[in-house]
Structures are given as C-alpha cells and as structure tokens.
C-alpha cells in the first residue's frame, strides 16, 4: 500500500492510501467517535473492570485515540499490516491522534491481521472490545476480512460479554455490500446492529451520503442497552455529544431493510462484496427511517453464502438456466433463442465486474462476442471436453459431439459458428468474455480490439444524416439501451468476382427488439465521401497485412512439403511434418476468410 498525505494551508490534512481517501482531519472525528464510542461505552457497561481492547487496522492511531479517552482500559493491542502508516501515526499524525500510538497501554503489531487473530485464538486470548477499522476491500484478499470465517474467528476471540465495532461501507451507496457484511456476521452467530454516520469528506469524494458501521456481540444488543450508555463519561468529544444524536445513528432508511434478505454473505475467497459495489445505490428513498435497534434478528432471512468458487456469477447462471436448453438436433427451432442474443442479454444482466466500468464501455467491449473465440482451436477443445464429459447432461454431450462433426466442414465464419452449437458456443464465449472482463485494465485498454472482419477501426464511426452515431458495418448507437443495434436482416449474396473469393453472406439481426429477422431491406445510411476514402485506406492496409501473412504461411507450407525430415519446427516446438502441414494449412484457411471479409468490406464501400 502506498500512503500519501495532503497538507493544506489551513493546517488540515488528509491521508490517502493508493489514491483513496482514508480520513480528512476536518471531519475524521465523526468517523472515529462514531465507530468507537457506542461500542466502547456498551463494553464498559457490560464488562466489569478494565477492558482488554483489540484494534484491527486503525494504524493512523485515531481509533486508539478514542479508546484511550476511557479510564477503563487495561491494554490495547493494535494490529496493522502497514508499517508506513504506523510511522506516519507516530510522526505526522501524532498531534491529531494525541499521541495514542505512544501510549504505554498500547502495543503495536505490524503483522497480517488474519494471522494475528489465528495466533491469538491458539494462545487462548480474549478481548472485551474489538474494533475492526480496515480500509474498504478492493480484492479478495481484502474481502476475506468481511467473511463468515473472519467473523467466526472474531466471535471466538470476543469475551462472553464483549462488544465489537466494525467499519462497513456506505449503506446508501452500496446497500447490498452493506447487508452482505451484516449477513456474514449473523452467519457467524453474532448479534448485530447496523448504524451509520454522515461524513462530508467521504461524500465529496463520492463514497456515499452516509457511512455504515456495525455493533456486534455474542448476546443481543438492544435499544434499552444503547439508550442507557453513559456518553458523558467519555470526554472530550466533537461529534457524539448527546443521546438524541446517538439514537439517530441507528435510524436507517426504510427502503434499505428489504434488501437485507437479498445480500449473500461471503465465505473467505468470495468477492461478492466487491461485486455488490457495482449494484447501484439505494433508490426511491422517501426520507423515512426506522430504528435498526428494533429489528428482530431471529426473524431475518439470510441467503446461502457465496463461496467465491463458482465459475459464473449467480445472476449469470440463473439467466443462462432460463435461456439455454441443452437440446441436441433442434437447430432452427423458433423456440430456441438466438445465441448471440442470449449472450448479449445475459451479459447486459451482469453488473460491471470492475468498479469503473460503465454500461457504455461494456456495450462497446461486447459488441462482437465472436471475437473472443477467434483464437480457440474449437475442435481440440471439444475433444478435451468430451474426454471429461462423464458427468455432463446427455443433451449437452450430444450437442458437443454434433458440433465436433460440423467443425470439420466449418469455414471459420463466426456467425455460422453460433448457429452450429448454440449452447456450447454461448457458454464458451461467455467464459472467454468473463476472463477478459475480469482483467481490470481491459476496458480502458488503449489498444482496443482489432483484426478480422469487425476490426475496431473498420467500424468507421460517423454521424448519419439524422445525427445518430453509426458504424461502418451498419450498426447504430441506441442511447436509450446503451447498445449497438443493427437494422433488420439484410442478406447479401454476391456472385464471385474474378480473382476474389466469394463474399460470405452478411446477416445482421435486430437485437434491440428481439426481432428474429423480417428481411425488410432498410439499408444503413451511406458513409460520407471523406470517411469512405479514409476507411478504404485503412481497410486496404489491413488487407495488405493479411495478404503478406498469407504469402508467408504459404512459403512455410511449401517448405514443410519439401522437407524430408519427419520432425520439423512449428512455433516453439518440434512436431511431425504432417502435423505441421495440417496446422499451417489451417492457419492459411483462417486467414483466407479474413482476406475475403476485408475484400467484402472494401466492396461494400464501393457500393455504399
């Protein structure tokens, strides 16, 4: 982690870790008093005598500052993985944290919190007050600190009357993430009360209009207990000054509560918490609130935990279960959905897998799912699947076998591929898309996607006479659905021209309204003259590249044919001459299709 401090002329400062705001000195007291004081005072009341306190995270010393205001502290153990932040706390923030990190009652451990907790359990330690003040999880490593496994460990570490205070996320901004943490704690047999504060600096950074915490214990924390805590016993305070204010912390929007039963808790390894970040903020908020201290915890429904080991996100496998029917031999049935449409529809259901992806970016990224299968040796892959197919549904096995036969005659055209093995190809394309989407940089990639019939730049975007955003292949951008939409089915069947391969049929379907094709011949608007010339130059450059590559491959093929050796070099390996010939011929056939498609696009320009 990389910490940096922004210092301002007015003397205030802010801490950032990897670019994310951790605290702003102007309002950090709201966060830290809110996180620490309710739990601390509850623990004081429950536990007689001095408290043993564990702070997980909080290396800035600010949670510790709040704890050490109490006269009832025996010891504080602070565990923070980041020595850089701890050093800052001892130096740059020492005034702000009022020297908490140098307090004789406090011991600092710079170690992994998970390992610390496991060791503490082995040693039989227990704590009366546990604070979890960790940064918001950005990956599965961070997300494990909101898992059932983690909270089970903390539950064991908690003394019988002890209390926990947990940093959450914004209930308003990321309600499902918030409830996922809550449900994970319930699954860990903790009694949990959600509450929240409003932090201006968090709001101005877009983190949400509120920020959520949780109070937890082995036994129920109810309204009477919270209303009876003695706020006056902790001084000084800048934020949590009276009982009315404390009560309000537990008032949550009424619209938030129904989402609780939708949020899956998480086992360690799951990243569902992070996926829920993309699900969108609470909507339709009326401003009405109700008291979370009155929730009947035993009546709550908690979904099954997300293990994180499923291949497909839950919403995707459900959507596929509804859309895919593993029926071999039913190829042109009107009852079966168009596989490209299934893929498009299923992917549109899927929330962005990365925080910063937008629907616009996803639509652009997914405009040609077939491109994700371009480099797959489908025959070889299907052969490997069939070797392991013992447990697959018989219908899927039959489809696989049929596809395997058809691939022998397949020319490499992506459109016909989708028709040949709908369900297999849909699922396969989905896996390849997911793999690419889950690599964070991909949607921002400056490279884009290239080559083949639908090269990114051959789309030749332009504005048509109606001002609509158009592509060279006829698609137009639908602002309402944030998707590229094709006009109705157009089939062009050309007679072969001298010296050129036959142009494959171009089929364009209307995905936007589920139109299976009515053959009405509404042509895309013609490309403007200047754009046409520029697009031609680019297409011609790509065609020249493909033709050069073809010539290279043909030379290699000729050399293989001439060789006497039974073993030759192909790629990185030495293989049999016959195999090298077969593989090279396959590359030539694939490249031929690309050349044909590029020629077709150039001809389209001539005719547009």
């Amino acid at each position: 982690m990389s910490g940096s401090i922004e210092r301002r002329p007015d003397g205030s400062l802010a801490l950032f870790i990897d670019g994310d705001l951790q605290f702003d000195s102007l309002d950090e007291h709201i966060y830290h008093e809110g996180l620490v004081l309710p739990g601390l005072l509850a623990a004081q009341k429950r536990c007689n005598g001095l408290l043993d306190v564990l702070i997980v995270g909080g290396g800035d010393g600010l949670s510790a500052r709040e704890v050490l205001k109490s006269d009832s502290i025996n010891k504080v153990i602070l565990v923070d993985y980041d020595p850089e932040i701890v050093q800052m706390a001892l130096g740059d923030f020492s005034k702000l944290n009022q020297g908490s990190m140098a307090d004789p009652r406090l011991t600092i451990n710079c170690t992994d919190a998970w390992e610390f907790v496991e060791e503490a359990l082995n040693d039989g330690e227990q704590f009366d007050f546990i604070i979890v003040d960790l940064t918001v999880a950005a990956d599965s490593d961070g997300a494990r600190f909101h898992s059932i496994d983690w909270y089970e460990n903390l539950n064991q570490l908690l003394s019988p009357k002890g209390v926990m205070a947990i940093n959450g996320v914004s209930p308003h901004q990321t309600p499902l993430s918030y409830w996922s943490v809550f449900n994970s704690m319930l699954k860990a047999q903790l009694s949990v009360r959600p509450y929240r504060v409003a932090i201006p600096s968090f709001f101005s950074r877009g983190y949400g209009s509120d920020w959520g915490f949780f109070l937890a214990a082995k036994t129920d924390i109810n309204q009477d207990e919270i209303y009876a805590i003695d706020l006056e016993s902790i001084q000084p305070k800048q934020f949590l000054k009276d009982l009315e204010q404390l009560k309000e912390l537990f008032y949550l929007p009424e619209e938030l509560y129904p989402l609780q039963k939708q949020a899956q808790p998480a086992l360690a390894g799951s990243e569902i918490l992070i996926r829920y970040f993309q699900q969108g903020a609470l909507s339709g908020w009326t401003g009405k609130v109700s008291d979370s201290l009155l929730m009947e915890l035993k009546d709550l429904t908690v979904p099954a935990p997300d293990t994180g080991k499923e291949v497909l996100p839950e919403e995707i496998s459900i959507a596929l279960a509804n859309a895919i029917s593993f029926q071999a031999g039913v190829e042109d049935s009107e009852e079966l959905a168009d596989p490209k449409q299934v893929l498009g529809d299923v992917l549109r259901l899927m929330p962005s897998l990365e925080p910063s992806q937008t629907p616009d970016m996803l639509a652009d990224f997914l405009s040609d799912p077939g491109v994700f299968l371009r480099s797959v040796d489908l025959s070889a892959l299907i052969s490997r699947i069939l070797k392991r197919a013992g447990s697959l549904p018989p219908q899927l096995v039959a489809e696989l076998k049929l596809l395997s036969i058809k691939l022998a005659d397949w020319t490499g055209d992506q459109l016909s591929l989708m028709q040949m093995g709908r369900n297999v190809v849909t699922l396969l394309a989905l896996l390849m898309v997911i793999g690419n989407l889950l690599y964070p940089d991909m949607v921002y990639a400056k490279g884009g996607n290239h080559d083949g019939a639908r090269t990114g730049d051959h789309r030749g975007e332009y504005k048509d006479k109606d001002g609509r955003r158009r592509r060279g292949d006829g698609a137009w951008w639908n602002e309402g659905t944030n998707t590229w939409v094709y006009d109705d089915v157009i089939k062009r069947d050309r007679a072969p021209r001298q010296g050129r391969d036959r142009v494959p049929e171009l089929e364009i379907r209307n995905y936007g309204n589920g139109n299976k094709g009515n053959n009405s011949a509404s042509l895309p608007q013609p490309i403007q003259a200047g754009d046409k010339e520029q697009t031609r130059v680019m297409l011609t450059a790509d065609l020249d590249e493909a033709v050069s590559y073809q010539n290279l491959l043909k030379d290699e093929l000729a050399q293989y044919m001439l060789q006497d050796n039974s073993t030759v070099s192909f790629g990185m390996h030495d293989i049999s001459r016959d195999e090298a010939i077969r593989l090279t011929q396959r590359l030539i056939d694939k490249n031929s299709l690309k050349i044909a498609m590029l020629n077709g696009l150039i001809e389209n320009l001539d005719e547009a």
Partner: protein, 355 residues
C-alpha cells in the same frame, strides 16, 4: 544451452537480480516499462497479482517475463495471465527465442493449472510480420497497448526535432509561446499537481467522449511513477487558468506520452502543443531517444472520436509503427475443466428454476 526457469517473486528493488532485470528490460527493444519492477509494484497496489518468471543460463539471468493476473478471475477458473510489453526474450535469435518462449510457456502452463488460468497473453513490441515462433498463438480479442503508434526521434538537437515536424506543429508551438502559455513540470508527487492533472483529463474526457479511469487510479499512478523517477507531470497554465496536463513516462531509451488532455479554457492558445514540446525536450534531456505517442490511428473516419487525437499527434512528425498486437496461448485442458464446471452450475440452476 540449457535454460533454467524460476519464479523469482518480488525482488528487493536494489538487489543485484533486480538491477539486472531492469537492465535486461531497458535494453530489449521489444519490452517496456510495463515489464519493470516499479510498474509491477504499482499494479499490485491496484489489486492485480504479478508472477515474475526468470530465465537463467547457468546462474545468469538472461530473460523472463512479468505476468499480471486478476485474482477473482483465477478463483473462478477464468483467469488470464497478461504480459504487456513482454516477454523479455531474445527475439532476434530464432533458436534462442523458441527455447526461451517454450520455457516460459511450459512454466506458465503448470502455473495455470494450479491457479485457475485459461490462457496466457503476451504483447511484445514486435513489428510485423508475425514471427514463426508464434504460430501456436492466436490473435487476442483485445490489445492492452496500442498496436499502432507514432515514434518521434528525439535523439537530435532541438532545432532538428522542430524541423522534422509538420509546419502546423511548429507554428502552434510558437503560437503557444507567443500567448505565453507556461508549462511547469513535477517530478515529485504533489497533490495540487495531481488534482490539476485530473481536472484537465477529466474535462477532456467529457468533451471528447472517452472513458476515463477514476481519480484514485491517476493519483496512485503518478505517486508510483514519480517515487521511482519514471514519470513526470506537466501542467500548462495561462495566468491562473489551467489549460492542460500531460503524464510522461521515461524508461530506457523510450519516453511515452501516457495520458493527457486540455481543458475547455483558452483553447486558442494551443496548450496541447506547448505540453508536447515541453515533454519532448524533457525526455531528450533525460537521455531518451524516442518519444512514443502511445497510439496513432491514421486514416480513421473523421467523425471518430480518436481521429482528432491522431491528427494532432501527426503534427509533430514521427514515424508510424504497427506491432503484432496481443497474442494468446490457450490452455485448452483448463478451459475444458472450467467449461464443465460452468455447465454443471447452469444445470444446477435449472433444477432451482424448476422447483
């Protein structure tokens, strides 16, 4: 020649092996900053994992690669391991190249099996034609780095660099000077500079309609690049108005215009030209020989949102380059396994749907 392959993990930055690695990367014309240890450190802070493979002849490090992986994808079994600007191998010698690439691929295959990875993606800065050693690879669906770019030769004096530009480029640089556009540079991380940088690129992204990473991404990137003396932020102002910003990286012989943009203020003052010229001069002073515009798409439709950028870049002279693009090596057994798991999951959901 026998080759030993080893996972060399996270190297101590000043260790002998680390320094040797950086030297290998800097000297390899087909590699770049994304194979540097600093970049790997930055990507780890963004949540990616990295696997650093070293190739040794006897005890000498002769090559290798840094792969980046997304952990969630791995857990699901749908991971891809990506080597932008890699691998770092001897592309000039066919025999060595094949041996080194084979060694990396075999290591990656074993790693992939245990770590839920479907494919390996390499993206060396190799010019066309596609070398025969890559016949077992397929064209990736997406390139991380621009396949087409523009290189300006800056290993000459300033006047020669200017004379190699188009007249409009020279004219607009002079115009910016005449308007007294001030360009300041920041080699150390500075919050105000980072905030101004983001303000400029954010305005440009809205105006020109392209996707932009969030602010925390840029703050983190600038921090890492500046800390490791691999990056400089340039800001253009006129009086108190922010006109534009540019982030330059410099590694080995190549400087790269990684990100930048102009604000909506005083567009007639040609701040973009002032920024590029300042960045080129700075890169030259740092000993770089080439200035990479990191993306160039000539002959694109004039309506396209990247068309104007390329037109702007072309004013500075330069030679267009086209690389082979990203290439995928698929681990078919792993894909078969994950396909079967996914099919079972869908079947399982069907039972739930019926119930």
């Amino acid at each position: 020649m026998s080759l030993r392959v080893e996972n060399i993990g996270s190297l101590e930055r000043q260790s002998e092996l680390a320094l040797l690695w950086e030297k290998l990367v800097e000297q390899n014309a087909c590699a770049g900053i994304m194979q540097s240890l600093s970049w790997a450190c930055m990507k780890r802070s963004q949540g990616l994992q990295s696997v650093h493979i070293g190739l040794f002849e006897k005890e000498t490090l002769v090559g290798g690669v840094i792969f980046y992986l997304a952990q969630e994808a791995q857990i699901r079994g749908t991971g891809i391991m990506v080597a932008p600007e890699g691998p770092v191998i001897d592309w000039q010698d066919k025999r060595s190249c094949a041996m080194q690439l084979r060694a990396i691929t075999e290591f990656a295959q074993n790693y992939a099996k245990a770590n839920g990875i479907m494919s390996m993606r390499i993206e060396p800065r190799l010019p066309l034609p596609l070398p025969a050693v890559l016949r077992e690879f397929g064209r990736a669906p997406y390139d991380l780095i621009p396949r087409d770019t523009l290189y300006v030769d800056i290993d000459k004096d300033e006047n020669e660099i200017l004379m190699a530009m188009k007249p409009k480029g020279r004219y607009n640089i002079k115009l910016a000077q005449k308007h007294q556009v001030q360009v300041s540079s920041f080699e150390q991380f500075n919050f105000d500079a980072a905030n101004s940088f983001y303000e400029a690129v954010h305005q440009a992204s809205i105006r020109d309609g392209f996707a932009l990473e969030p602010k925390s991404f840029f703050d983190n990137m600038i921090l890492h690049l500046c800390e490791n003396k691999l990056g400089t932020v340039f800001l253009a102002h006129h009086e108190n108005d922010l006109l534009g910003a540019l982030l330059l990286t410099h590694y080995g012989e190549r400087a790269t215009y990684l990100y930048g943009g102009v604000t909506n203020a005083k567009r007639q003052m040609m701040a973009g030209y002032a920024l590029q010229w300042a960045a080129m001069k700075s890169a030259r002073e740092l000993g770089c020989k080439y200035y990479d515009f990191y993306g160039y798409v000539p002959h694109r439709s004039s309506q396209h949102r990247y068309s104007r950028f390329s037109q702007f870049k072309s004013q500075f002279g330069g030679r267009p380059f086209r690389f082979i693009g990203a290439q995928d090596y698929l681990f078919l057994d792993n894909i078969a396994e994950v396909f079967i798991r996914a099919a079972h999951e869908v079947e399982g959901r069907k039972t739930e749907v019926k119930v």
